[in-house]
Structure formats: structure tokens, C-alpha cells
Amino acid sequence: MTPESMAVDMADTYSPCDALPAPLRSQVIDQIVHQGQLALHCTSADQRPMLEHFKTQQGYDFLVDVTAIDHLGMDRTERFEVVYVLRRTRENSHQFRLHVWLSEDSPNLPTVFDLWDSARWGERETHDMFGIVFDGNPDLRRLLMPEDYPGFPLLKDYPLRGMGERRQFPNVVPRGDQIVEEEPGDYPTSIGRGMHTPEYTEEVRRDSKPR
């Protein structure tokens, strides 16, 4: 990147959506600009053609991050929102996000690891935390959680204290001369907001009014 090309200032109104071919452009559900950052929204069917276009035609050669949001209990049409953060690294450093809406019934998306290698671990972690399956990704093993772990921790219906996994390991404590096994009890937490129970989700998150 040369200083001259750096000087080409991207106007705030610039949107990579404008350069999309017409059939794809009509599939963009929403364009949201917050604090100067652009977010395009689309459905899961259009994710792969759009990302291919942005990579090959528009030069977004740096996939910064892949992640997801779980909208359980919110008043949304679909439950999951998969977020791709894209950036150019050659002529300028324009950056935007593509939000892909994904239904709860079939949480599958085509992989994009052949476009950007950074999607390999990004998708793997998203699968690890949300259970979203990226079809075609050669390595969707557990990444952060243990390989035999059953749950998906960042789902909103997964409680903060876990699903009782700690109970597999009884507390071994000394009692006088003997060492006995104890049932693990609740351990104190300093987090005042409380638990992320399904009831909490129902009560608080459903009405999007701030408490």
C-alpha cells in the first residue's frame, strides 16, 4: 500500500453493495450504517455467491473474522446471524460486515475456506460455540471445547453455569482422618446479573425494551 493510494479516501457513503450485479443486489435485505460502519444483511442462500463476488471481483482479500449471534427469544425471523468481517488490504483498507441470516431448522452454510484460509478456524470456532455446520469445511472438530463435549456454550439457552458437566467430577475433600467424596455444590459467583436461564431469556429478552 503506497501513501498515494492511502490518500484515496473512501467516502462514508461508499457501499460495496452498489457494485454487486443486479440479481445479487436485489437479494440484499438490509443495509445498516452505525457509527460509519456498514453492515449488509442477506439470507443463507445468497451467502456464497456474495462472498465469492466480494473476494474475486471487489478485492476484499482479508477475511478478518467469522462469528455468529444467537437471537433466541428475540423477535426476529431467523434465529442465527452469521457475521463475516471483510477488508481490503491492497488499494485501501475499506471494511464492512456481511450478516447472514440462518434458520434454526437447518443451521447449515456453505464453507468459504477455499476463498480465505482464515475461515478454516473461524468457521471451526463458530461451529464449536454455536453448532452451526459449515458444509465442506474439512476440519470441523471441536476447537476450544473438549472433543467429547456435548453442548454449544454460546447458545442463549446454554446456562452460564454449564449443564452439569462439573458434576462428573466429585469434590474430594478431607474430613478428619478420612478423605471423602462430596457432591459438588453451587459455587459462588461475583457476577451480579444472575443466570442465563431460559426464563431469563423469556422475560427479559423478548420485550426488547431496556429494563
Partner: protein
């Protein structure tokens, strides 16, 4: 142990992992039965490939953290490598959905514990961007100074450990000695050394003490000679230079495709730096260069870090010369905590403090807003994606740790090399397990 007659090149036969395990069990059984285990006479190769599967870590001194690599070896050559991470996974993102915006600052310390200030600043910048507030100029300048000091401490530690892993132990000791100067400043500024929790959303915890400029200027005098000393020690060290040159070569295209950022990416020629490309905290006011190497090997990563230290010193000099006076906390107390003095002496500030700290009354970004905010941490691009539902906790807090994407390519780089080269590559990557696993 008899020499392997079939393979004269190898004087001791290599046992497979399964064989070793079987023997250990057999030996343990004999021990329990009171029988002295007989001498192992022959270790046969079960699948006949002559390959050994070896664990490198999670408890290995050269991993500098809880990282596990699984190497399939042929002799000493790595033919296949795989990594397993997650040993330090503590659910920071889940905590972010359950803690208020101000509370989570303390969690951010624990990510890259070698430069906690950069994490604090990165998180605070993200929340401020989500809220759309600007911090006062003095606060921004102080954050820049502390960030660059932390970056120097992080880089010099990495270089020291790189030397230590390759046999130049003194470099590590010298680096630690001068790194202590940075920690003295951090301690004077916020009272803690490692887990700083220095920033708040909308400002910093308190203004710096009066002797802060003296500390920084004495650091600026004492530190720079170390750069030449380390160069003198390492560049004249034949062993070091030979072991890092052309080892773990990462090309520019690879770096771009794998999402590599920070000194590792720039050592491969990927000319990207968030401080220059998307300036935050007034980084565009300072005149600094972004050094770039082209070779992309471990040696280039060493040189890259040393050159970045010089640029960081330059930024600190400029920021100290133009350090503005004034408040250090954003003046809208609907979003920012008032200073402690004001809370103790001023009724209105006490009320604001109470409202912000009590649960459910804290900072509330507008519902449905989301932001991806990136800052340049010592290891690379530290990004925060925050989505808000209008309550006082984040609906989704995603951390994009630099080490995570940097480490993904590590197995590709060590395949085909020797085990000792894997150490040279890993120490130049400077992967911090705390932010890798979060």
C-alpha cells in the same frame, strides 16, 4: 538394546507410541506383582512405518503457554503436525454477555497478560465507538503512551524468549531487566503490574501521578541502548542466526489469506497496521513509520519486532512532547464513570456513579446496534464485535484475538522441518495462550 540391523542409518530403533504404552502397562503390572521388569530387548515398530507420534506440550518449556502440538515424526523430521488449543478456555465471550460493560474491563486483562493495557484500551475503544463518544485529548494521549509502552514490553519479551529458546539466555535476562522499567511506570499509573484494568468506558481510572513524565523520560533515556545491545548479541551469534534464517517462511499471500496480522504479517510483507489504516485515539497525529520486511522467516520476525520498538519509542516521544492537560474522563456521566474525587465530594457525581454501577442502570447502547472495532495490539489486530440489545450488558461480545488466527497456520509452517525448527518458529510467533483460548 540391540541395534536395528535392517536400518543401518538408525542405531536405535524408534518405538511407536502404542508400543511404549504397552510396555509401560506391562512394566507397571510387573511392578505390582513384585517382579522386577526385565530389560527391554527389542522395540518393534507396530505399523512398520517407522513413525513416532509425539506430543509437544501442553507442558513444555518452549511452548511458553498451554499449547499442545501433535507431531508425527520420521526420525527428527515432522511429517505431519496438528495443534490442539482450548486448555485455557474460560468463556470470556459468555461472561461478556452476563457482565455490564464496565465490569468486563477486568476480564480483558486476562487475555494477553503480557500487555494487558492494550486489551483494556481495545475494549474501551470498541464500547466508546458503539456509543459514539470521544474521549478527551489527554485521555487519548495517555492511552497511546501506555499502549506503546506495553507494546515495547511485549516485543522485548518476545525477542528475549526467542533468544532463550535458541540458546542465548542472556538476551532474556537483559530484556527482563529493561522491561521492568515499563512495569514500574504501569505500577505507578494504575497500582497493578499485570492485571491492570486501567481504562474505563469513556476514560481511564484516574489521572497519572505528577512524576509520570519523569518516569517516562528516564525510560526513554535508559531503554534505547538495549536495542543495540540485543542486536550486537544476537546478530553476532552464529547459532541464533543460522537457526532462524529461512525457518518457517510465511509468504505474503499466505499471510493475507490466513488472516495473519501484526508483526508476523508485516514481517512477510503484508503492509497493514490498524494504527495507520483506521486511526483511533488520534494515532494519525503522530508521525511514525510502519516497518515491513519481505523475507517472512523467523529472522524477519525478529527484525520486525526490533524495528517496531523503535517506532513505538518515537510515538512516545511525540506524545509526551504534546501531552495536553485537562480531564481524563468523558464529560457525559450518563456513559462514563465520574472520578473518585468527584464521587466523594460532589452530590451529582455520586448519583451518576450510583446509577452507572447499580445493575440495570448502566451504560445502554441503542438496541440493535453493532460494531466491529479493531485496535493494534502487540500480537496483531485485536478486534471486538459487540452487538447490543439496548440493555446494560452486551447481547454478543466477540473477541477477535490476534493469536488465534496467527496460530492457525503454525502446523503448516513446521511440517517438513525438524523439531528444533518448530521451537524456532513458535517462539517467533509469540502466541499467548490466554488470548488464544479466551
Amino acid at each position: 538394546m540391540t541395534p536395528n540391523q535392517d536400518n543401518p542409518a538408525r542405531d536405535t530403533p524408534v518405538p511407536s507410541a502404542k508400543t511404549l504404552e504397552k510396555e509401560l502397562k506391562q512394566g507397571w503390572k510387573s511392578h505390582q506383582e513384585g517382579v522386577r521388569p526385565s530389560q527391554v530387548t527389542e522395540i518393534e515398530d507396530e505399523d512398520g512405518s517407522g513413525r513416532l507420534v509425539m506430543n509437544f506440550g501442553p507442558q513444555h518449556p518452549a511452548t511458553h503457554g498451554t499449547l499442545r502440538s501433535i507431531f508425527t515424526l520420521e526420525g527428527e523430521t515432522i511429517v505431519e503436525a496438528d495443534v490442539e488449543i482450548g486448555f485455557l478456555h474460560t468463556g470470556f465471550e459468555k461472561l461478556g454477555e452476563n457482565m455490564t460493560y464496565q465490569q468486563w474491563v477486568t476480564v480483558s486483562d486476562r487475555m494477553n497478560y503480557l500487555s494487558a493495557i492494550n486489551n483494556n484500551v481495545g475494549y474501551s475503544v470498541a464500547v466508546e465507538q458503539l456509543l459514539g463518544i470521544d474521549v478527551p485529548p489527554r485521555c487519548a494521549a495517555l492511552r497511546v503512551i501506555m499502549c506503546e509502552l506495553s507494546r515495547i514490553a511485549d516485543h522485548i519479551l518476545c525477542v528475549g524468549l526467542q533468544g532463550m529458546d535458541l540458546g542465548a539466555f542472556s538476551v532474556m535476562l537483559w530484556a527482563f531487566e529493561k522491561r521492568e522499567l515499563v512495569y514500574d511506570i504501569i505500577e505507578a499509573v494504575c497500582g497493578a503490574r499485570l492485571t491492570t484494568s486501567w481504562t474505563r468506558v469513556g476514560g481511564i481510572m484516574r489521572d497519572v501521578p505528577e512524576f509520570f513524565p519523569d518516569l517516562v523520560y528516564s525510560f526513554l533515556d535508559e531503554f534505547p541502548p538495549l536495542i543495540d545491545e540485543i542486536h550486537l548479541m544476537l546478530l553476532n551469534n552464529r547459532i541464533f542466526v543460522d537457526r532462524v534464517t529461512d525457518i518457517g517462511v510465511l509468504t505474503e499471500d499466505q499471510a493475507r489469506s490466513w488472516g495473519i496480522s501484526g508483526p508476523i504479517g508485516r514481517a512477510s510483507g503484508l503492509d497493514a497496521d490498524v494504527r495507520r489504516d483506521q486511526p483511533y485515539l488520534g494515532y494519525d497525529q503522530y508521525d511514525f513509520k510502519v516497518p515491513v520486511q519481505t523475507e517472512g522467516d523467523s529472522f524477519a520476525r525478529y527484525m520486525q519486532r526490533m524495528e517496531e520498538i523503535e517506532q513505538s519509542l518515537e510515538i512516545i516521544r511525540q506524545a509526551m512532547a504534546t501531552l495536553p492537560s485537562g480531564p481524563v474522563v468523558h464529560d457525559d456521566f450518563k456513559t462514563s464513570l465520574p472520578t473518585k474525587d468527584a464521587v466523594h465530594n460532589d452530590m451529582e457525581s455520586l448519583i451518576h456513579h450510583f446509577k452507572l454501577v447499580m445493575l440495570g442502570h448502566g451504560i445502554k447502547p441503542s438496541a440493535g446496534s453493532s460494531i466491529y472495532s479493531a485496535t493494534e495490539a502487540p500480537c496483531g489486530e485485536l478486534g471486538f464485535f459487540i452487538a447490543s440489545d439496548g440493555s446494560d450488558t452486551a447481547y454478543r461480545l466477540r473477541i477477535r484475538p490476534p493469536s488465534f488466527y496467527n496460530y492457525a497456520i503454525f502446523p503448516r509452517l513446521v511440517e517438513g522441518g525438524m523439531i528444533s525448527d518448530a521451537v524456532a518458529v513458535l517462539s517467533s510467533f509469540h502466541v499467548i495462550a490466554g488470548e488464544l483460548d479466551r
